[in-house]
C-alpha cells in the first residue's frame, strides 16, 4: 500500500463530494431536513389538544371545572351548550374529544354521588385517543381531589399511586427522537451515499480506468471508507451539537462513549454500503437497494419511532438483523440514562459482530476485475 496513492484517492473523493450537488444533498441537506422535521414538526406528545366542553347547566361547580381545564397545558377547551353542536365539531375534527357535563351535574355532586360525566374521544388515531382519554381522566380526578380539599370534605381514594418517571421526566418525545436520528443520518451517509458513489464510478467508467492502474484493492476500498467515515462522524457531531443546543436534549452519558459507539455503527453502515456496491453497479439499483435494506429498516424497525416491544413477534425477530436497532438502543441509553455498561456492551458487541461480517464480506467479494 502506498500512502501517496491513498492520499490522492481520498483527496479526489473530497473534491467530488464538495462539487457534486447530489452528494451534498444526501450528506447535509437530508440530515438537516430530518433534524428539523423531528425536532420541530413531529411530536408524539399530546399538547394543546382542542376539546369540546359541553355544559348543559352552568353553575359554580361546572365553571370551576372548566376553568381548571383551560389552565392545563394539554388542552384547548371550547365551550358548547348542547351535545348536537359538540358532536358536529367532533365529526369535522375541530375537536379531538368531548367532555359532557349533564344538567344534573352539580346536584349529584353535592349528594356525593357519582356525577354524570362523560368522555367521548375520536378513536380514529387510537394512540392519541388513548392518551387523551387518560389525560382527561386525570384532570377529572385532580379536580375532585382539589374540590374535596377546599371544601373540607374528606375524599376517600382506596389506593394512591405515586408516579415517578425516570430518564425522561418531562416526557418530551423530542428527547428520544433527536438522538435516534443520529442512527438514521449515519445510515444515509454510510450506506446510501457510499453505495451510490461507488456505483457512479462504475457507471461513468472511472472504476475501469482506476482498476487499470497499479492501485491495489485495499487502496480503493480504504479510499472510499476513510472519507465517508469522516463525513459520517461529522454528521454525528453536527447532530449532537444541534440536539444539545437548539433542541435542549440532555446528554446524561459521556461524549466519548457516544463517539466510540457511533464509530462502531458507522463501520457497519459503511460495510453495508460497500457490500451493496459490489452487487449493484448502477446508481438507481444501488440507491433503491440501500434505501430498502438499510434506510427504511433504520427508520421503521430500529425502535427509533416505533417501540420494538409492541411489534408482533415475527417482526421483533426481524429487528435483530437491523444494525440500527442496537445503535438506537445505545443512543437512547447514553443520552437519557447515562453510561449503563450492561446495555452498552451487549449492543456494541452486536454492532462489532455485524461490522466484521459486512466489511469481511466486502473484502472477500471485491476483486480487481470488471466481472
Amino acid at each position: 500500500m502506498k500512502h501517496r496513492r491513498l492520499r490522492a484517492l481520498i483527496r479526489k473523493e473530497f473534491l467530488q463530494i464538495l462539487r457534486d450537488p447530489s452528494a451534498i444533498a444526501i450528506a447535509f441537506v437530508m440530515p438537516a431536513f430530518l433534524l428539523f422535521l423531528f425536532g420541530y414538526g413531529v411530536s408524539l406528545d399530546a399538547r394543546h389538544v382542542p376539546v369540546a366542553v359541553v355544559v348543559e347547566q352552568p353553575d359554580r361547580d361546572t365553571e370551576a371545572f372548566a376553568a381548571g381545564l383551560a389552565q392545563s397545558p394539554y388542552f384547548e377547551p371550547q365551550r358548547f351548550t348542547d351535545m348536537t353542536a359538540a358532536s358536529a365539531a367532533l365529526q369535522q375534527r375541530q375537536v379531538e374529544g368531548i367532555l359532557w357535563l349533564r344538567q344534573d351535574f352539580s346536584r349529584h355532586l353535592l349528594r356525593g354521588e357519582t356525577a354524570p360525566f362523560s368522555i367521548i374521544v375520536n378513536g380514529v388515531d387510537a394512540n392519541s385517543a388513548r392518551l387523551l382519554e387518560g389525560y382527561l381522566q386525570g384532570v377529572w380526578q385532580n379536580w375532585l381531589q382539589q374540590r374535596a380539599r377546599s371544601s373540607g370534605v374528606p375524599f376517600v381514594v382506596p389506593a394512591v399511586s405515586t408516579e415517578r418517571i425516570w430518564f425522561n421526566p418531562a416526557l418530551r418525545s423530542r428527547n428520544y427522537l433527536v438522538p435516534g436520528l443520529i442512527a438514521v443520518i449515519m445510515t444515509l451517509i454510510g450506506a446510501l451515499l457510499t453505495a451510490m458513489v461507488v456505483a457512479r464510478e462504475w457507471e461513468r467508467g472511472t472504476m475501469e480506468a482506476l482498476m487499470a492502474t497499479p492501485v491495489t484493492l485495499t487502496e480503493i476500498l480504504l479510499g472510499k471508507l476513510l472519507p465517508y467515515f469522516l463525513m459520517g462522524m461529522g454528521g454525528m457531531a453536527l447532530t449532537v451539537a444541534l440536539a444539545l443546543t437548539l433542541f435542549a436534549v440532555p446528554l446524561v452519558g459521556s461524549l466519548w462513549t457516544l463517539s466510540l459507539s457511533s464509530a462502531l455503527f458507522l463501520l457497519v453502515a459503511l460495510g453495508m454500503g460497500l457490500l451493496i456496491s459490489t452487487l449493484a453497479r448502477n446508481q438507481f439499483v444501488a440507491g433503491q437497494l440501500a434505501v430498502i435494506v438499510t434506510f427504511l429498516p433504520a427508520f421503521m424497525l430500529s425502535g427509533f419511532i416505533f417501540d420494538i416491544g409492541s411489534m408482533p413477534a415475527p417482526v421483533q425477530l426481524v429487528t435483530h438483523v437491523v444494525a440500527a436497532r442496537y445503535f438506537v438502543s445505545i443512543l437512547q441509553t447514553v443520552f437519557l440514562a447515562g453510561d449503563l455498561w450492561p446495555v452498552l456492551l451487549v449492543n456494541s458487541a452486536a454492532l462489532a459482530f455485524m461490522a466484521t461480517i459486512f466489511l469481511g464480506l466486502t473484502w472477500r467479494l471485491s476483486r480487481k476485475r470488471l466481472d
Binding site: R4, R5, R11, A209, A212, T213, P214, K368, L370
Partner: protein
C-alpha cells in the same frame, strides 16, 4: 520480428445475459507486435471491448492465456498494470475534477515521483494543447478535449503498451486528427499501441489489423498485405446522364460486382477480381483500395443475404401536399436556446420532395436538436418551421401524421415480438384492421423479417433491429422519413443494405431527412447541410461542398477534409470578428 507486446492464445470469454451464456470471445488467438500501431476492428458487439479488458488484466479468460509484455494476466496483473496505459471507452475522467486535478490523481495512482510528475505533465499538456484549460472541470470540456485528457492520463507514466478502447466515437473530425497525431508520436517514441475502432477509415492509419466479428477473429494481417489482395479490383464508375443513385442500383445487381457505393461524383465498385463488367457508355477508373473494401470482401457471403428490395409502394396520395411547388420541409431562421446555451443559432434550409437530405456534424453540433424540432418533439425558441405544408406551431398533429421517425436507439419494445411491435405501431398510427394486416405482411416480406416474426425485439441482431425500426416507421406510408443517426454501430454490410432501402424509398418519392456523423455517408445524400456549434457552415450537394474545400495541394478532398477546412475557416473568421 520483435517480441509480441500482447499475445492471446485461444482465449474464450463468456458472459451471462438473461440467463443464457453469450460468447464475447470464442477461441481467439492473436498477437500485437511491439512498436507498431495495431487496429482492432469490428462492428458493435464483436467483442472488441472484452479483448481490451483481457489485455488490461481487468478480465481473465475462461480458457486460454493472455500474455502482456511477457507477463501472464492471471498471475501478474499488477506488474502488467504498472507498464500499460489504458483508456476506457468513456475516457475514465472524473467530471467534477479539473484537468489538472485529473492529471494529478492519475500521476499519483501510477506512482510518479513529484519531479517526474511535473515534467511529464508539462510535456503532455503541450502535446495535447490542454495547457490553457488546467483549471476547467473535465465535465465542461468538449468531447474532443475530454478524449485528449483521457489519453494524457493514460500516457502519464510512458507506458510500454497503450490500450485505447474506441477513443474516437462521436468525436469531431478535427479532434480525431489531433488524437491520431498524438498516437503517431507515441508510436515513434517506441510505444506499442492497440486501438479499437468501429470506423473503418481509421484502419488505414494502423500498420496491423485485427478484425473481430461476432466474437471470432476473422483476420490478422498487415495493412499492406490486406490492401495488395484488392489492388486492381476497385473502380470509380460514371455514366453520362444517369443519376448516381440509379447507376448504383444497377451496378449492385450486376454479376462480378461485390459492392457498389456512391462516392464523390460516381459509384465506387469492388469487383470480384475478374475483368471489370463494364458497359460501353460507362467510364471505369481504377482507384486505390480502402480498408472498407477489404472488410466487405472478407465478409461477403458470410452475412445473411437480404433479398433484393422491391420498391416500396408509393406514398398515399391523399397526404400529398396540395401545393406541389412548395418545399416539403422549410426552415427559416430557426433558433433553440437551453438557458443561456444556444444549441441552434438561426439556421435556414429547404428540402424538396423525394430528396435524401443530410444533417452532418460532430456530436454537439446541434443536429439532434434541429431534428427534434422538425419532428415536433421540441418547440423552437424562434423562427418558422413548415413540414409537409403545415406550420408546426399550429398543426403539429396534422404534420406528424405525415412523418415517420426512426430514433437513434431504435425505439422498439424489447420484450414484444417483431409481430407485436408491428401491430402496436400500426395501431398507434391509427390503421384499420385490414390495413394493419396488409401493412404488417408487407413489412415482414419487404424487410425479410418473417423468420424472426416471433422473436422478441431485444434478441434481434443489431441489423435486424434497424430493419424493424425502419419497418415500424413506414407502416403508415409517411411522406417524410426522419432518421436520427440510423447507422451508428452497425457493421458496414448492414449499413449498405440500409442505404439501398433508403435509395428505394427516395426513388418512390418519399422525402428523407437523415443525421449522421459518418462523413462518408454524406455521399448518399442529394443535398446536405454541414453543421458545427449550432450553425450551418455549408449547404449544397456533396460535390459542391467538397469543391469548396479544394486547394492546389488537395484537388480532390474527401468529405472529412472538407469538414475540417470549413470548420477551421469558420473559426478563423470568428476570431477575426471578435
Amino acid at each position: 520480428m520483435a517480441e509480441a507486446a500482447l499475445a492471446l492464445e485461444s482465449c474464450t470469454k463468456r458472459f451471462r445475459r438473461d440467463g443464457a451464456p453469450v460468447h464475447a470471445l470464442d477461441q481467439v488467438s492473436a498477437t500485437v507486435r511491439a512498436g507498431r500501431i495495431t487496429g482492432l476492428l469490428g462492428p458493435d458487439g464483436a467483442g472488441k471491448t472484452t479483448l481490451m479488458r483481457l489485455a488490461g488484466a481487468l478480465l481473465l479468460p475462461d480458457s486460454g492465456r493472455v500474455t502482456v509484455l511477457g507477463l501472464d494476466t492471471r498471475s501478474e496483473g499488477m506488474a502488467i498494470q504498472e507498464r500499460i496505459g489504458y483508456m476506457p471507452q468513456r475516457f475514465g475522467l472524473y467530471e467534477e475534477l479539473t484537468v489538472q486535478e485529473n492529471l494529478d490523481l492519475y500521476a499519483a495512482l501510477q506512482g510518479l515521483s513529484p519531479a517526474e510528475k511535473k515534467t511529464r505533465q508539462q510535456e503532455l499538456l503541450a502535446l495535447t494543447a490542454l495547457g490553457p484549460f488546467g483549471n476547467r472541470r473535465a465535465g465542461q470540456l468538449s468531447g474532443g478535449m475530454k478524449q485528449k485528457l483521457g489519453l494524457a492520463c493514460a500516457l502519464l507514466r510512458s507506458p510500454s503498451l497503450l490500450l485505447l478502447d474506441e477513443p474516437t466515437v462521436g468525436v469531431d473530425p478535427i479532434s480525431r486528427r489531433e488524437l491520431w497525431h498524438i498516437i503517431q508520436s507515441r508510436r515513434n517514441a517506441g510505444v506499442s499501441v492497440l486501438i479499437s475502432t468501429a470506423y473503418l477509415d481509421e484502419a488505414e492509419r494502423c500498420e496491423d489489423i485485427l478484425l473481430l466479428h461476432e466474437g471470432r477473429l476473422l483476420v490478422q494481417d498487415t495493412q499492406a498485405s490486406l490492401q495488395s489482395t484488392l489492388s486492381g479490383r476497385c473502380y470509380r464508375v460514371r455514366r453520362e446522364g444517369t443519376p448516381r443513385r440509379r447507376l448504383r442500383t444497377e451496378l449492385a445487381a450486376r454479376n462480378g460486382v461485390l459492392d457498389a457505393t456512391i462516392q464523390a461524383d460516381g459509384v465506387r465498385v469492388l469487383s470480384d477480381g475478374g475483368a471489370p463488367p463494364a458497359l460501353p457508355a460507362e467510364q471505369w477508373d481504377a482507384v486505390p483500395p480502402r480498408f472498407e473494401d477489404a472488410f466487405v470482401n472478407l465478409l461477403h457471403g458470410r452475412a445473411a443475404s437480404l433479398q433484393r428490395p422491391e420498391p416500396p409502394p408509393p406514398p398515399r396520395h391523399d397526404l400529398t401536399p396540395a401545393q406541389d411547388d412548395l418545399p416539403v420541409i422549410e426552415v427559416r431562421d430557426l433558433w433553440r436556446r437551453f438557458g443561456s446555451f444556444e444549441a441552434v443559432k438561426g439556421i435556414s434550409f429547404q428540402v424538396r420532395a423525394g430528396q435524401v437530405f443530410g444533417l452532418l456534424g460532430a456530436n454537439g453540433a446541434g443536429k439532434t436538436t434541429t431534428f427534434n424540432m422538425l419532428c415536433g418533439l421540441l418547440s423552437p425558441s424562434a423562427g418558422t418551421l413548415r413540414v409537409a405544408g403545415q406550420n408546426l406551431g399550429h398543426a403539429a398533429a396534422a404534420a406528424r401524421a405525415r412523418i415517420g421517425y426512426v430514433s437513434q436507439k431504435f425505439a422498439l419494445y424489447g420484450n414484444l415480438s417483431v409481430l407485436q411491435n408491428l401491430d402496436f405501431f400500426a395501431s398507434v398510427y391509427g390503421l384499420g384492421r385490414q390495413e394493419r394486416a396488409r401493412r404488417r405482411d408487407w413489412a415482414l416480406a419487404h424487410f425479410s423479417l418473417a423468420p424472426y416474426a416471433r422473436v422478441n425485439g431485444q434478441d434481434l441482431p443489431l441489423g435486424f433491429k434497424q430493419r424493424l425500426a425502419l419497418a415500424c416507421a413506414l407502416l403508415h406510408q409517411p411522406l417524410i422519413l426522419f432518421l436520427d443517426e440510423p447507422t451508428s454501430g452497425v457493421d458496414p454490410l448492414a449499413r449498405r443494405e440500409f442505404w439501398s432501402q433508403i435509395n428505394g424509398l427516395a426513388e418512390s418519392g418519399v422525402t428523407i431527412l437523415v443525421t449522421t456523423h459518418f462523413m462518408e455517408e454524406a455521399e448518399y445524400c442529394d443535398e446536405l447541410v454541414l453543421m458545427s456549434q449550432g450553425e450551418i457552415l455549408a449547404q449544397g450537394s456533396p460535390q459542391a461542398i467538397r469543391s469548396q474545400a479544394a486547394t492546389r495541394d488537395l484537388p480532390n478532398p474527401t468529405m472529412e477534409d472538407a469538414f475540417i477546412t470549413l470548420v477551421q475557416a469558420h473559426e478563423a473568421g470568428l476570431r477575426r470578428a471578435s
